[in-house]
């Protein structure tokens, strides 16, 4: 199992979930993707769209002020 990272804290809609989708396409099933994002639109939409696409959101943690880390497992 490989762990990959993606920082979308400087991105805005639609590139937040677009970049996550493209990053997930590049990794293998069961591999994990760690995404750094901000609260608001990214935090509302990224976990939701990832789940809709059949992947698993393993963890959502606030790491600093409005920055969150979500851990996704590709299914």
């Amino acid at each position: 199992m490989e762990k990959n990272q993606l920082d979308i804290t400087n991105e805005h809609c639609p590139m937040t979930f677009v970049k996550v989708k493209l990053a997930l396409e590049k990794i293998q099933p069961k591999d994990q993707l760690e995404v750094l994002l901000t609260e608001g639109e990214p935090l509302d939409n990224v976990p939701k769209t990832v789940k809709e696409q059949g992947h698993r959101v393993l963890e959502i943690t606030c790491i600093k002020d409005d920055i969150y880390r979500i851990l996704i497992e590709k299914c």
Binding site: H12, V18, K21, T49
Partner: protein
């Protein structure tokens, strides 16, 4: 799990910078959430698909070639308001970059990467005597109304 039959079709009639940004933003966002996305370019909207990004005498016939030159390509798309002879789209792109918002070029590239289907309008191409080779290779097919209705059937359709 997202229903794989979800579909969004957009008729890109306008060749305005801001309206194209809206169309490609919706297209990329929808494609990223597993929608099948069809963009059907007609009239002014077709200018964004030209291989020649600047002004060029394309097409058949003097009038058509002159008209094509006046419309230009991707580098000449105007802002729908406050265009100021083409300066505003450049300023807007600069502002978008400064604020980390995807520019029109990035949105087009992303839409293509996500598998958005690009279609060109047969009738407009006939009027201007423009052929498929004048457009970027990512244009999948040249369509008429019947085919567009077939492809968009069962989904949402927008006109921009």
């Amino acid at each position: 799990m997202q229903n794989l039959k979800d579909k969004l079709s957009i008729i890109c009639f306008s060749g305005d910078f801001d309206k194209l940004v809206a169309a490609f933003t919706l297209a990329s966002g929808a494609a990223a959430t597993n929608y099948e996305v069809n963009l059907f370019f007609t009239f002014w909207g077709l200018n964004i698909l030209k291989k020649k990004k600047g002004r060029a005498f394309l097409g058949k016939g003097l009038l058509a070639r002159f008209f094509s030159f006046l419309m230009g390509g991707k580098n000449n798309v105007p802002l729908s308001r406050f265009n100021f002879f083409g300066i505003s789209p450049r300023l807007m792109t600069k502002m978008m970059k400064e604020r980390n918002v995807a520019t029109l070029d990035i949105l087009i590239e992303t839409a293509i990467d996500l598998g958005v289907n690009l279609y060109a309008c047969d009738m407009t191409m006939n009027i201007l005597g423009i052929i498929k080779d004048d457009y970027i290779t990512e244009v999948k097919e040249v369509l008429g109304v019947a085919k567009f209705l077939e492809y968009s059937k069962g989904g949402e359709t927008l006109f921009i």
